[in-house]
Structure formats: structure tokens, C-alpha cells
């Protein structure tokens, strides 16, 4: 007999049905966490009412650390151990950081990602980001007094595969379930699109602390389509601070040499820049070791010394429009994102280029986190009435190296994701039994000018004449923009594939090691944590399958249903076990038992869409 569950109006039948999901803007200079509460997206404040968390972590001798404001306060006094703007180092090697000599850090050079040597040992940018993410996670969990179900984390649209993967690794390290990585400008559009119900083509001009992104988005019928993206992953408000600091040193003849002096001057330059937003003239003060700087700066002088930076952003805007095959006239509005867009010369340059005043009625610091939280709320299944669908594109072309160091492009940039694309290759020598594949990302024709993502080999090809083998290389890019590559020799059936990760990101063993000594797990017994996580995953899965059965149980015949019911019962009983591996095995068994059910449900979904079209077109 079937039982009907009856609940009071307005009461969810299951108290755990509402999942805590947040949006996180992991920024270069500061980070924020936001959530949808009572139907409204809002940034979550810390104990002292501040929503902004400076993206700064200070490592102390003995293993402790300061995160956020206390770390920021130590930027000048302990510059070498206080890591700011770690986002610029994510998925980057030392050679990528052109201004490394100007930074107050001791870098460790690795082939994949650089490290920063502190008094507490070497720190990967991923660990620094994980410390920031964990702080925001605890803030959300304290706010709701509940565990976090998951988060949508934003990345610059221009982030390549290495940088996206590094961001996901950081979230894993912080114990956060990533519902989705989305592009920052897209998150901003979500915040504006829903609040203002805008339709049409929009440009999102995002000048943050360390990155500049321009995205051309088409908004219609609740769909956010990214038509083109562009920008510069090494241009932001920090560069305006640097330019001002350099200029002041030249004008006054006072040089900042020590790490502490450099940091002091940088903070002074930032304060001066911010003051110039509201006034025409302000003095820059900095107390350095050898001499003090006290120097009057006119806004017009500041604008003149940074004009080249502003021009670079407009050049990138022009290029993105060309990629979108659009002109300024096609753009119905420009959304301003990032604290640096508060600078009057930026507002003016953008208004002049587009011939219209930009939209800036939401707080440019918060807008990305707010949009991410709306998407997170939707992905967690809290907003079943919502019809928000995000269709994203891949920001940079993906390809493989061919003879002569040339790139054969397999997935062109701005392709809508998820996507899978294949290209056939062959052997070039008689009897060749292996093929080395070098996966690269970038727009240039030479491998040397592109970013190397991974190398792997397809072995065991039976000896054939040159050109006889048919090797199909398939690139699959998921909705987060992360790549998987598979190579398949079609005559013999030999196969090899790789999650594009090890050559630039962190290996799973490195992640495991970091997890062990990470802040996120320091206070908890790792084993207990594993059991709790396995139970949470099991409950999530059971809930999902319950609701799938509620909707589409008629697709199953009796034996199929019995198999699923048995697997569900086994997991429901087994979830209380203290053995994480056992719970995981039962979860896996249930997943496998429902695989064909899931496929049939998808078929039904598509058929419904087709039927809808036929009826409406009659």
C-alpha cells in the first residue's frame, strides 16, 4: 500500500529539503559570500558586520594563520609571509608572473604552479585560496547554523583550464561541494537580469583588483548566453596602484626597497586612488624606512599616468565585440562590475566608447556574489519555480600539438559548453606503436605560444604502415569548462584518456596531503569527517532518487523497480554504519542501479520538449 504524506500548507514535508547553498566571489583583492534568504540575495556579514573579506592570508611561524582583515593589517609589517592577490598565481608558473620581481614574496619555481615560501613552509596558491574559501564556508554555516550543501564559485571569464581546475581544487581543500564554477560577469548579469528583467545584448565590464574581463551576453527568456568573452587576466586595480606608486617614487626620488616599504607604499597608493574618486586632489602619505613620502596628487595626473591601462581595457572591449560580430549599436546596456569601476575615468571611458551611461545601480563589489548565490539557490533545487538556465562558452581554444610544433585546434573558443569534439589523427612512421599527445590551450598557431595543459601517451597500437592507424582524439568540456581528453585507435580499439589536470594542477596525492594539514580539517578527525561526508552524499542520493521515482516511476518495469528498491533499502540501512568505504560502496551500487532509469527520464524530458513545440506550433 502506498502512503501519502500530508503536510501543513507552507511547510516543506522534509525539514532538510531546503539546502544551504551560497555564491562565493573569490576575488583577487577581496572575497564575498552571498545567499538567497527569504527570496532575496544578500551578502553574508562576519561577526563585526563586514561583508568583505580581504583575500589576504598571513602565515605565522608555528603553523597558525591570520585570514582577512588581521592579515591585511600585517601586509606592511610582514610582507613576505602575508599573501595577497593569490588569485593571480592560481594555475600559474613563475614564468607567467611578469612582475614577480616587484612583489615582496620568495617564490618557489615548479613546472606546474609556483609556490610562495613563508615562515610556515611553502604555500601553494591553492592552499591560500582554500583558507579564504574555508573562512567564508564557516561564515555561511554559522549564519544558518547548518552544514553547507554546496556553493557556486565565480572565476574570471578569461580563466583557462589550469586556473579553473586550481579553483576547484581549492574548494575541495576547503571542504566545499562545488555546484558549478561560473564566470564572474555572467554572475553579475544574473544579479542584474533578475532584478531588472532586462532582455537583449549586454556588455559586462569587470575591472577587479587583478583581472579585467569583458563579456558580451545575450539575455532572453531566462537564458543567459555568453556570446563572447575577452579581457586580460593580468590587468586590474592593482596595476593602477602600482603605476601610481612607481610614479610617486620617480617624482619624489624616494625608493621603496624592502618588502615592508613596498607594501606600505602600495597601500598608500591604493588609499590615494580611492580618495581621488571623490575629490580632485589628495596627498599621498607613506612612512618608509629611509624617508617619508608626502606628495600631492591631482586626479588629472593620476588619470594621465594610468591612461594606457584604461586604453588597454577599451581595446579588449573592441576585440570582444568583433568576436561577437557586433558593433557598439547592438549593445543595449553596459554593466559595471568590480570596485575599480568606481574610478571616474573608467566610467567616462566606458560611457564614451558605448555612447551611453553604464549601469551601476548595484554595489559593484557585491554584484558577482549576489548573482552566484541566485544560481546556487537554483542548482540546489530550492527554487523549483525558477527557470534560470546558464549557457556558457569556452573562453580559449583547445587543441593538440602536431608535427612541427603547430597547434591543431579541436575545440574553438566561444563554443557553447558542454561540448565534445573529435578529430582523427594517424601515425607517421611504419610500425609506430605509441602516440604522444600534447594538449594545449590558446589562440596562437605555435605550441610555444600556447599554454601547455597535459601530455599523455596512447600505447599498444598494433604495428601498421604509416598512415594506416585511425586515432580519434575526443575533447569533452563539461559545464564548468573543465576538459577531459580521450584517444581511441579505431582499428585495434586501444584506448587512453586523461582528466586534464596533473601537468599543471595538483595531483590527487598532493591534494590528499594538503587536506591532511589543512585548516579546514585541522580541528576534526579526518575519519569522522569522511563518514559524515559519505552519509551526506548518501542522503543526497536517496532524496534525489525518491523524487525521481515520484515523478517517473511508470518508466520502470517490475524487475527494474525491485532492483532499485533493494539498492535503496540497502543504502538506507547501511548509511548509519561507521565505515565510510561501506557507505560509499552502497551509494555507488545505487547509482549504478539507477543509471538506465536516469537515461530513460532524460529521453522523456526531451520528448516532452518536442511535444510542447508541436502543440504550440499547431
Amino acid at each position: 500500500m502506498a502512503l501519502l504524506q500530508i503536510s501543513e500548507p507552507g511547510q516543506a514535508p522534509n525539514p532538510h529539503q531546503r539546502r544551504i547553498a551560497v555564491g562565493i566571489d573569490l576575488g583577487t583583492t577581496h572575497s564575498l559570500v552571498a545567499a538567497v534568504r527569504h527570496g532575496v540575495a544578500e551578502c553574508l556579514p562576519d561577526n563585526e558586520g563586514r561583508v568583505i573579506l580581504p583575500s589576504v592570508v598571513r602565515y605565522l611561524a608555528g603553523g597558525g594563520r591570520d585570514i582577512g582583515y588581521p592579515a591585511q593589517a600585517a601586509l606592511a609589517s610582514d610582507a613576505a609571509n602575508t599573501i595577497a592577490s593569490a588569485k593571480r598565481f592560481m594555475g600559474r608558473s613563475l614564468a607567467d608572473i611578469t612582475d614577480a620581481h616587484k612583489l615582496p614574496y620568495r617564490f618557489a619555481n615548479h613546472t606546474g604552479m609556483l609556490g610562495v615560501i613563508t615562515v610556515a613552509g611553502e604555500k601553494s596558491p591553492v592552499e591560500v585560496s582554500a583558507d579564504i574559501l574555508a573562512t567564508l564556508r564557516y561564515r555561511a554555516e554559522d549564519t544558518f547554523n547548518d552544514d553547507l550543501y554546496g556553493a557556486v564559485i565565480t572565476v574570471p571569464a578569461y580563466f583557462d583550464d589550469a586556473q579553473r581546475q586550481a579553483t576547484k581544487d581549492a574548494a575541495q581543500l576547503a571542504g566545499i561541494n562545488v555546484l558549478r564554477l561560473i564566470n564572474e560577469p555572467t554572475a553579475a548579469a544574473i544579479a542584474y537580469g533578475l532584478d531588472n528583467a532586462s532582455e537583449g545584448v549586454y556588455a559586462i565590464y569587470d575591472l577587479g583588483g587583478g583581472t579585467f574581463d569583458i563579456s558580451i551576453l545575450r539575455l532572453s527568456q531566462g537564458v543567459f548566453e555568453v556570446v563572447a568573452t575577452g579581457g586580460d587576466s593580468a590587468l586590474g586595480g592593482d596595476d593602477y596602484d602600482h603605476a601610481l606608486a612607481e610614479w610617486v617614487q620617480t617624482e619624489t626620488g624616494v625608493q621603496a626597497v624592502s618588502p615592508a616599504d613596498k607594501a606600505t607604499l602600495k597601500l598608500a597608493a591604493r588609499a590615494c586612488k580611492e580618495a581621488l574618486t571623490a575629490t580632485d586632489s589628495v596627498a599621498i602619505h607613506a612612512e618608509l624606512t629611509r624617508a617619508n613620502i608626502h606628495f600631492d596628487v591631482e586626479r588629472s595626473q593620476f588619470e594621465a599616468i594610468t591612461a594606457a591601462l584604461t586604453v588597454r581595457t577599451i581595446a579588449a572591449v573592441r576585440k570582444a565585440l568583433r568576436d561577437a560580430r557586433m558593433t557598439v549599436q547592438d549593445v543595449q546596456g553596459v554593466v559595471m562590475v568590480g570596485g575599480s569601476t568606481r574610478m571616474p575615468q573608467i566610467q567616462a571611458a566606458v560611457a564614451q566608447f558605448f555612447g551611453r551611461a553604464p549601469l551601476n545601480n548595484l554595489n559593484p563589489d557585491e554584484v558577482v556574489a549576489l548573482g552566484a548565490s541566485i544560481q546556487a539557490n537554483q542548482l540546489a533545487g530550492n527554487n523549483t519555480a525558477g527557470d534560470l538556465l546558464l549557457l556558457d562558452v569556452i573562453p580559449l581554444s583547445l587543441g593538440v600539438e602536431t608535427m612541427g610544433g603547430l597547434v591543431e585546434r579541436i575545440v574553438p573558443r566561444n563554443q557553447t559548453i558542454p561540448t565534445a569534439m573529435a578529430q582523427d589523427f594517424t601515425t607517421y612512421k611504419d610500425g609506430q606503436t605509441a602516440l604522444a599527445l600534447h594538449v594545449v590551450q590558446g589562440e596562437r598557431d605555435l605550441v610555444a605560444d600556447c599554454r601547455s595543459l597535459a601530455r599523455f601517451e596512447l600505447r599498444g597500437i598494433p604495428p601498421m604502415a604509416a598512415g594506416a592507424a585511425r586515432i580519434r582524439v575526443t575533447f569533452t568540456v563539461d559545464a564548468d569548462g573543465l576538459l577531459n581528453v580521450a584517444a581511441h585507435e579505431q582499428v585495434s580499439g586501444v584506448q587512453a584518456d586523461i582528466n586534464v589536470k596533473p601537468s599543471y594542477g595538483l595531483g590527487d596525492d598532493q591534494i590528499a596531503k594538503m587536506l591532511q594539514d589543512s585548516f579546514a580539517t585541522a580541528e576534526q578527525d579526518i575519519r569522522t569527517r569522511a563518514v559524515v561526508e559519505a552519509q551526506v552524499d548518501a542522503d543526497r542520493l536517496l532524496l534525489a532518487i525518491h523524487s525521481a521515482l515520484d515523478a517517473d516511476a511508470d518508466l520502470l518495469d517490475a524487475p527494474e523497480r525491485a532492483e532499485i528498491d533493494a539498492a535503496m533499502l540497502a543504502l538506507s540501512e547501511g548509511r548509519n554504519s561507521a565505515d565510510a568505504a561501506r557507505i560509499e560502496a552502497l551509494s555507488k551500487a545505487l547509482s549504478q542501479a539507477t543509471e538506465s532509469f536516469a537515461a530513460q527520464r532524460m529521453n522523456r524530458g526531451i520528448a516532452h520538449a518536442l511535444a510542447g513545440k508541436n502543440i504550440s506550433s499547431i
Partner: protein, 181 residues
């Protein structure tokens, strides 16, 4: 009286036209394709199944990929034409068959020379107009050959010519870019 509708069955092996529920022909309404793409993605996108476990995620990913693939092909007139020829048993074989009429090749060479000589925005714009006009002409020839004459062997010729023009068009874009920077 109740009417029962027969819902067309689609699967991952359905061709692009079946998947999108549109007529198998060259002439297509771009706005209808766009709307249809979004409708289908709304059903199949992995985000819709984010809270439903790995099995649903994987299947959603397959469908979403398939829908994107079909959309890329349907919305691009050149890819759509090549696909229709392939479905009709006349594949374009762009890599192995590059023979083109002499007159066409002469015109291409002339354009290349014009492109090399162009040193102003006006010269490039004039060339752009010529190229776009030729492209429009060839596309309507292609539509005629596929939708009305059902002559796919002839349509393949138009498709090959259009491929040359697309390549040239990209080089022209690059020239605009170089002139600007």
C-alpha cells in the same frame, strides 16, 4: 472526445533535424532554431540535474553535448548544407577533394591580391562587400540545389566554394584587426 498525440521519439542517434523537430531542408528560421535550442537545453542541461546524482549528470551531459553539436551545425548555413549533402549520400570530403573550377580560382587569386594591396579601411570595406555578396549568391544557389532541385552532387560544389570564401572571410577579419592595432 480526446485526441492522443503521437510524440516523435528521439534518441542520441537521431539526426539534427529530428532532434530539433524541424524539416530536413536547407531553409531554416534562425529565430526558431535559437528558441528550440534553448527549449531543449532547458530540458537536458546538466544544471537541471545538479541535485540528482552522478548518473543523471552523465546522461544530461551527453544530451546537452548532442544538442549543442546539432545547434552548431544547424545554425551555420555552410555546415548545415554540408550535413544535408552527407545525409543524402554525397559527402563533401573537403580534405581529399579540392578541385575547383578555374574561373573560381582566378577570382580567389584576385581577391588575395586585393587583400594584400588594401591599405585603408575603405579598401577593406569594399572587399568585404564583394565577398559578402558572393557568399549570399552562393548560399541561395545552394538552397536552390538542395531544397528544389535535390541535386546534391551540384550542391557539394557550392559548399566547397563557400568553404574557400569562409577562409578568405576570416583572413579579411584579421586584416581589419591588424589595421586597427
Amino acid at each position: 472526445m480526446r485526441l492522443w498525440r503521437v510524440v516523435p521519439r528521439v534518441n542520441l542517434q537521431s539526426n539534427d533535424f529530428e532532434l530539433f523537430g524541424v524539416a530536413k531542408q536547407f531553409a531554416q528560421d534562425r529565430a526558431a532554431l535559437d528558441a528550440r535550442w534553448k527549449e531543449l537545453q532547458r530540458e537536458a542541461h546538466p544544471d537541471k540535474f545538479a541535485a540528482q546524482g552522478n548518473a543523471a549528470q552523465r546522461v544530461a551531459m551527453q544530451w546537452s553535448v548532442r544538442i549543442n553539436e546539432a545547434y552548431q551545425r544547424l545554425r551555420d548555413p555552410l555546415k548545415r548544407a554540408a550535413y544535408l549533402c552527407e545525409l543524402a549520400g554525397s559527402p563533401v570530403n573537403a580534405h581529399s577533394n579540392t578541385a575547383m573550377p578555374a574561373a573560381f580560382l582566378m577570382q580567389q587569386m584576385q581577391w588575395r591580391e586585393d587583400l594584400d594591396d588594401a591599405d585603408s579601411d575603405e579598401a577593406l570595406i569594399e572587399l568585404r562587400e564583394t565577398v559578402d555578396a558572393t557568399q549570399r549568391m552562393l548560399l541561395s544557389e545552394c538552397a536552390q540545389r538542395i531544397d528544389h532541385l535535390h541535386d546534391f552532387a551540384a550542391a557539394v560544389q557550392s559548399v566547397r566554394a563557400l568553404m574557400f570564401i569562409e577562409k578568405f572571410s576570416q583572413d579579411l577579419d584579421l586584416a581589419f584587426y591588424k589595421l586597427e592595432t
